[in-house]
């Protein structure tokens, strides 16, 4: 286990370097610059601004300066909002995205795991068909269709929840629901498939022969193996939550990191783009590691193969 963590962290270093390098040169070779958008800026001021941020130096020199600062944990100031450090901007915007992601995830698990378990236990009855049909619809109803539909129904027509913004807790409901239902549908299907496979194992038959109740069999014996596909899905699901949050934040006008990132890319805010990408990357790498550890804990077989 410790070996796994050690090697993963070791591997993360070159990965992060590749990401930083790729993003650095991609942003720089793209047409346009951070001070092009405002036509009002006179030429001399633009040159001064570029000199202030070191943009007049050779590209390679800028690259090494950036890496040097990065190693000291300094992401630099935002080009668009020079009074802000990139790390400060991330610290303001990320908690919003995190809240959205966490609530969506809880909703997805609350819907998905019981739904899938019931469907697996009562296979080929209406209690199987109903959640399965609903989840198929859920999987095929992308967030950017579901979101506006929910706004239309629950906000415009019934006026239960506010349609947009991120001020009060009641604002959180619709965005979290939109993202959560989509992943809930996925998790339902995965849980059902995993549980069906687990319920066929010999040790389940033994437990049943010994007269254990079906509830006990489900929670004590089958769940551990049956939820493996769900755990494996958590890694991609998290990456999906991030990309999903871009869409959700744009539908519901939420000031989260996804919206900041897209705006920064449009504005050619080099440091902000780089900082956000590196932040997302480290987040995903960490979460993948956590998922792998969880998997190793649940499934002894995967421990040996590593």
């Amino acid at each position: 286990m410790k070996r796994l963590i050690f090697f993963r962290l070791l591997q993360a270093i070159p990965t992060m370097w590749v990401i930083a390098t790729l993003t650095f040169f991609m942003t720089r070779f793209a047409p346009g610059g951070p001070f092009d958008a405002e036509k009002a800026i006179p030429e001399e001021i633009k040159i001064k601004m570029e000199a202030h941020f070191g943009l007049d130096r050779p590209l390679l020199e800028q690259y090494f300066i950036y890496l040097h600062n990065l190693l000291q944990g300094d992401l630099g100031p935002s080009f668009k909002y020079p009074e802000w450090e990139v790390s400060e901007l991330i610290a303001t915007a990320f908690p919003v995205s995190l809240t959205l992601g966490t609530f969506s995830f809880i909703i997805a698990l609350i819907i998905g795991i019981p739904g899938g378990m019931i469907a697996a236990l009562r296979q080929n009855t209406w209690m199987d068909y109903l959640p399965m049909s609903l989840s198929m619809i859920g999987v095929c109803l992308p967030t950017f269709v579901l979101g506006p539909l929910l706004i239309f129904a629950l906000s415009n027509q019934l006026a239960i929840f506010p349609p947009l913004g991120w001020y009060r807790p009641s604002d959180w409901v619709l965005p979290s629901l939109t993202l959560g239902l989509f992943y809930g549908a996925y998790i339902t299907r995965l849980t059902r498939a995993g549980m069906l496979e687990a319920l066929q194992q010999d040790f389940i038959r033994t437990a049943r022969a010994k007269g254990a109740s079906s509830w006990r069999i489900l929670t004590q014996h089958a769940a551990r193996g049956g939820l493996l596909p769900v755990v494996t899905f958590l890694g991609p699901a998290f990456a999906g939550l991030i990309s999903g949050s871009f869409v959700i934040e744009s539908i519901f006008f939420i000031p989260g990191l996804g919206k900041f990132f897209v705006t920064a890319a449009f504005n050619r805010d080099y440091t902000m783009v780089l900082g956000t990408v590196l932040f997302y990357a480290s987040l995903i790498i960490t979460l993948n590691l956590v998922v792998d550890l969880l998997q190793a804990w649940l499934d002894p077989k995967s421990r040996q193969s590593r």
Partner: protein, 288 residues
Amino acid sequence: MTSNPPSSSLGREAWSRLRANRMAMISLFILIAIALISLLGPLIAPHSYEQQDLDRIFESPSKDHIFGTDNLGRDLFARTTYGGRISLSVGLLATLVSLLIGVTYGMISGYAGGKLDACMMRMVDVLYSLPFIIFVILLMVMFGRNFLLLFLAIGAVEWLTMARITRTQTLNLRRAEFVEAARALGFSDTRILFRHILPNLIGPIIVYATLTIPAVMLLEAVLSFLGLGVQAPMSSWGSLIKDGAEKMDAAPWLILFPGAFFCLTLFALNFLGDGLRDAFDPKSSKEP
């Protein structure tokens, strides 16, 4: 692993199994219908997809505009079917790109085995952990909304799983008797790969491709929804849904029709993919 029957009869067997699957056949029918409407729609529509008519904005569906009109008086039927062409072709082309990369990579890795295989798969693992969606968004924002770039970027993201599946299959086939026989006859590796191994991979490749198309279309729609995909006056289902969502109160049909087409396509593709998997690999579904 027992020797496989020749691919033509495997295909025929799979087809007969697929025909027995009612949901899959309905899905196939829906897909063909949507493809035909998208192909022919812009030709038979009385209005072009970009023709504006500012006297007739936000008109609800009528005989003249069967899907209604948008905020610039453009015919939604023409725009939806035209958008279908774009969305479907992005789905198909990007899947093709990901297939070409993934299958080649996976076959080489699985067939070579040993250190090269371990190295190549390690690289796939590392790539899996990268936040690709972020790079795709970055690419689209920074380098403009180039149509070619769009599906190259999407295809480059989606090849990883294909490579893994192909590699596992190739690894199994490598030790099959007919491959050893071919090797004993002195055939070159390229010939063995393309004449003997590839035909046996067709099943899983078709199944996974069917499931990749909806994933790709979803990604394209997300990009278009963020305003990074197809640009006006051109349309794709994603960009139409975006416009429709903004004007939902004034004209709900603007999101209804493109949304329905898009969801129905995803629905049908997923069902067809499931059906194909059962047809090509009956073992996986026969369990009680």
